[in-house]
Symmetry: C2
Subunit: 118 residues, 2 copies
Amino acid sequence: MTTPSAPSAAGRDLPHPHRSEIRLEGVLHALADPMRLAVVRRLAAGPAEQSCSALDLPVSKSTTTHHFRVLRECGVIRQTYRGTAKLNRLRRDDLQALFPGLLDSVLAAAQAEAVRRA
Amino acid sequence: MTTPSAPSAAGRDLPHPHRSEIRLEGVLHALADPMRLAVVRRLAAGPAEQSCSALDLPVSKSTTTHHFRVLRECGVIRQTYRGTAKLNRLRRDDLQALFPGLLDSVLAAAQAEAVRRA
DNA sequence: GCCGTACTACGACGAGTATCGTATGACTGC
DNA sequence: GCAGTCATACGATACTCGTCGTAGTACGGC
C-alpha cells in the first residue's frame, strides 16, 4: 500500500509530551530506575543519537522497549524511527529550560557514585 | 507486659544510613513521590526542625509515618525524638557532599514547576 | 515474493508500595 | 495512677511496576 502523505524514512510517529507537559515527578521517577539511569548516562556520554539495541541492556527486548517507552513518555528522551531502527536522544534543551541544572546534577551525581563504588 | 530489655526512655534511636550508604537511586526514588517531595520542600523552606504532625499531610497518620520512614531510610532526612514528638530535618550536608547541587536543583525545579502551574 | 532484523503489543507473574484502620507503645501533665 | 497526645506497628487491600515470553508489525534487502 502506498502511504500518501508520509515520507518512508519517518512514516511512523511516536507520541511525545510537549515541553509544557513534562512533570518533575515523572522525570525523577524515570531517573530513579537504575536501568533507565544507565540509559540516560550512555545517551549523555556517547553519540547524540543511539538505537535501542546499541545500548545492549542486560534485560530482554521487551523490557528494553518498556524502559525506553517510560523515558519517552516522561519527556526525558525523544525517539524517531529511522528504517527498522529507532533512534533515541536526550531532550536536553527541554529539560534545561524547565529544570535548569537538574539533568546535569543527576548525571554528575551518578558519575560520582560510580567512581565511589569502584 | 513488661518489656525486659526495654530501650531506655529518652534514648530511642532510629536507624539511619551512614553517609556512605546513601544511594542516588534511593534518593531519586524518595523524591519522585509528590507527597514526599512536598515534605522535603517544606523542610527546606521552613524551620530546620519540624515535627511529623506539623506538616499536616492530606493522608492518614499511618501513611504519614510511612513516608517519613522512606525519607529517613533513603538518607534524605534525619529523625530524632524529642519528648512525644519526632523532629525531622534535611540531611543537607550529607547530600551536598555526595551529590553536589542535586538537592538544590530538585528544590529549584519543584519551585519552578509550582510557579508554572499557578 | 520471501526472509531477516528491529522493535512493539499483549498477557502474565511476582515484588514492591501507597493507602487505610485499629491496636500499641512512649512521653507529658494532672 | 490516669488520661491525652504523638507516633509506631501490624495486617489488609488495591494498585503500580519490572520482568519475561510469545506473537506480531514495519522496514530493507535478496
